[in-house]
Symmetry: D2
Amino acid sequence: MEIESTKWFFDKVNPHLLQLHAIEGTLFSGRTKFQSIEILRSPGFGKILVLDGKIQSSEADEFIYHELLVHPPMLAHPKPENVFIAGGGEGATLREVLAHPTVKKAVMVDIDEGVIKICKKYLPEYHAGAFDDKRSEIYNTDARKWLAESKEKFDVIIIDLTEPIEEGPAYLLYTKEFYQIVCSKLTKNGIISVQAGCGSYTELLNLKSVCHTLKSIFPFVNIYIADIPSFGGPWGFCIASTTLDAAALTPAEVDKKIKERSLKNLRFYDGQAHQMMFTLPKHMRKAIAKGARLITDDKPLYLYKD
Amino acid sequence: MEIESTKWFFDKVNPHLLQLHAIEGTLFSGRTKFQSIEILRSPGFGKILVLDGKIQSSEADEFIYHELLVHPPMLAHPKPENVFIAGGGEGATLREVLAHPTVKKAVMVDIDEGVIKICKKYLPEYHAGAFDDKRSEIYNTDARKWLAESKEKFDVIIIDLTEPIEEGPAYLLYTKEFYQIVCSKLTKNGIISVQAGCGSYTELLNLKSVCHTLKSIFPFVNIYIADIPSFGGPWGFCIASTTLDAAALTPAEVDKKIKERSLKNLRFYDGQAHQMMFTLPKHMRKAIAKGARLITDDKPLYLYKD
Amino acid sequence: MEIESTKWFFDKVNPHLLQLHAIEGTLFSGRTKFQSIEILRSPGFGKILVLDGKIQSSEADEFIYHELLVHPPMLAHPKPENVFIAGGGEGATLREVLAHPTVKKAVMVDIDEGVIKICKKYLPEYHAGAFDDKRSEIYNTDARKWLAESKEKFDVIIIDLTEPIEEGPAYLLYTKEFYQIVCSKLTKNGIISVQAGCGSYTELLNLKSVCHTLKSIFPFVNIYIADIPSFGGPWGFCIASTTLDAAALTPAEVDKKIKERSLKNLRFYDGQAHQMMFTLPKHMRKAIAKGARLITDDKPLYLYKD
Amino acid sequence: MEIESTKWFFDKVNPHLLQLHAIEGTLFSGRTKFQSIEILRSPGFGKILVLDGKIQSSEADEFIYHELLVHPPMLAHPKPENVFIAGGGEGATLREVLAHPTVKKAVMVDIDEGVIKICKKYLPEYHAGAFDDKRSEIYNTDARKWLAESKEKFDVIIIDLTEPIEEGPAYLLYTKEFYQIVCSKLTKNGIISVQAGCGSYTELLNLKSVCHTLKSIFPFVNIYIADIPSFGGPWGFCIASTTLDAAALTPAEVDKKIKERSLKNLRFYDGQAHQMMFTLPKHMRKAIAKGARLITDDKPLYLYKD
């Protein structure tokens, strides 16, 4: 077997499955106050951001991840003006949010100022100036605490966090108690999206548990999934609202809304993408229906341990 | 990073991406006349069949692969009676074909008798008795030669081959000349399906070239894709016919046909699966539209070299 | 980089150094009552015995390991008649002991009957009939307990154990208290040898701690080291006695003794080997002189944790 | 198995044996005119220099390599004044040569100016100012051509080259024809040393062939071997002369010479190291005695191919 590189990044999909990315070089390697951070260069995916050993996004396909996370709730909402982002350090979620001309204010709360600084410097293509947009407000504190103490309400709340690992900064932002806070900070037709982890048939615990936990609060909750090559397969997201059913949008409606919002730079998302990602085959529907956990502050879910 | 195993199978997705499967044991390891063959046991995927170093199928998700390959053409055809399978050594493609009560004869031509013997012994769950069904005819010769010399015509032809590698037995069964033979052996409403390789955004050369080559012969050609976890992501297939447009079937029509055929054991395929797998997001449609090659006997496509 | 195999065994030399062996097949994989056991086949080293994830010996170079462990104490002793082996499951240590015509009785105590059975079946070249020699007595119990309760004394005691890991069966057979028992069971000119772990400059903790602990009991203690390719580098042993100084033997004396004992099948050991392995370069002497720990029952040494 | 890093450098010892080093970061990664060059940082070995995918030296144990290569011929020679180094890009060979107060001129010819520049910048501990010593002359051209055209003669010639790979810059500096040129440029009591590759029992082809080829020219030729941990085991060198027998020096003579030359910073080399490294056990002497090739310009030896 001919392999291209002598240097490889080991990405653990699960204890019995590793994905190895060839590394051309390390642009940055260090620790912030909260986590380890590396920016690697891969021959296939360009620059790769790694936090606590997990790939967060790659230059080659971050557009899929960020369009998936942002546009379904933003387009489902009739006129999103105030938007809240929990996490989102790279600035690309913010970039996609600001692409909607309806947006008047985008508040992004990421606990880790270090990640933002390093991404600003090494990944300028990701934020594309979003941090400097007059509509942006950036805070470096715990997103849960910020939200709980805030008197503002938001039309769209986007949860863009690293996975819940025991030592990591995010595991208390995957619980029922957190989603209750989130729900209480939504405007009347408010809607949220959540990056919810691996969408592969054999690795659904996190995704279905996030979905199950959201359902304990929101009447409309849906899972949607699409392939993100640098993540090694399909990735899952949840969308939830008290009043809006994003999954029910037809391809034609999605395409019409994209046109109305003048979203000209979309590379992944359109009516067909919408239909594909909200449609799950039989085995996936069945697998998601059973074995999910309610995630609570008392019994949080730790990836790789549960 | 805690990893579960000391033994790993290296699956090369491409020169800069490796997928490593933990191995619990090797049930079989050897060479047939045509290729190397191994049957490994993985903690996550159960038994794994490996030919020439590439995973062919795993116990845990072979149902996805084989349902994907077989049922779209079988259900698109109004009454498939004679079916031809090129390759298909494990016997699971045959198993799915024989599930259709309309089938009177299923001819399977796999050049490698060794693979069939070893699969019969070590993977009985795969064929589930299909080789012993009275409707089955098995030949061990080159499928292209057999088809070219045959006077029979078939309602459905299913191409279930290993990938086209330079030293492998299959690369001349991916060419325009081969598909011309296939086309000439179809009955009036005949239809074919082809396993066509990786369906990941960054690795589409084989899939789009097979599609492009089929389009030089058939008026109706479609790509469809679904995630197969043990393959490390989405996998692509083509369906082609002179008269039938399988992609146009609605979810309701698919569900109705499944009922009519009494296909009670389907785990992946149903109306929603059908819709999902034939719907491609924007970046996939765009990527597939450009850079495809016409594959011919003179200029075959060799995976990992082209 | 061209690599030969798709299957690899990961041998952890230390947390930042892995050695990967290509695997042709798995002859056996399972668990005994005490540990995991695998017999793999490598293209370079033939059959490889793995206990709890660590290579114990390989067909290609087990002769080095077993000659190193056995012949220095056996030849240093003027007339070894009663020999005790702690561990030694493969039977190859026993084989080398029995090669000495002076031996009247060889007692081998290995806690793990399962290992012996599996080695007997899969590694017949290793024991070469030693288990059936009339002079052999095999017991399957804890070697420390057996020795403590025994009324016999031995001319040579050979400690051939797996490394001291927290979950493993051997860590209490590396302590001062154990060596005291060993010492009390030696005849007047008795001598012992101990396999003591990695002999590589950067990984000497176990070796130097075993040496240091032995020195708290025996007046004559020496380290000796030789390269064992399948172990990924040099391996270290200790030899200790109340009265005999094995290290002081000249090459000529060693060669003379080999001749007197009619040891015709030695492949590694001779006068020059003896001189080489007892001679340590400056950096090794210095590294061994500092930082060693006294290993006791209260404060055992756990490899990879200390 | 707990592994420390997510990034690993794959060092191919041979097609069935890989050594993986954890990587903390990449200080430099690029190509010179002649080869790829990387400077990595490992938690265990510090900075590691990699040329064409092979480890050349590490911060933690380069002292072993460079003392081994330099001091045996330098001390065997009664008064080395003019010294020639072929290769030696890092400058550490030059550093050790200049430590001998007898030296009046040290000529270093390394084809690859790029390697020297990068090592000067990133590995200042290696050269330790040697490039700026008034006695140093550095040329960037082919060492064979330079030597062939030179009218100078040298007391000691040190061959410090990368391994002979087909695409690499060094394979014509391992041939009989090259050693003839080298021999013709020695003063009357001249002596040479050669880094000659892996010294592991199962991987001796290069080492024994270099030795065999040298013997076709020089009356006194010896192999010597010592463990270099970052290389993954023992490493082999040859020493050759028309008149001097370096191997015959006793430990006491070596220690006396070290004192006379005031070599106070030696960490590896002393009388005992000398004795150890020139003494080979039985299986090594036997393995080296058979199967060596005569390396010639017409039939060069390519590592990993022969």
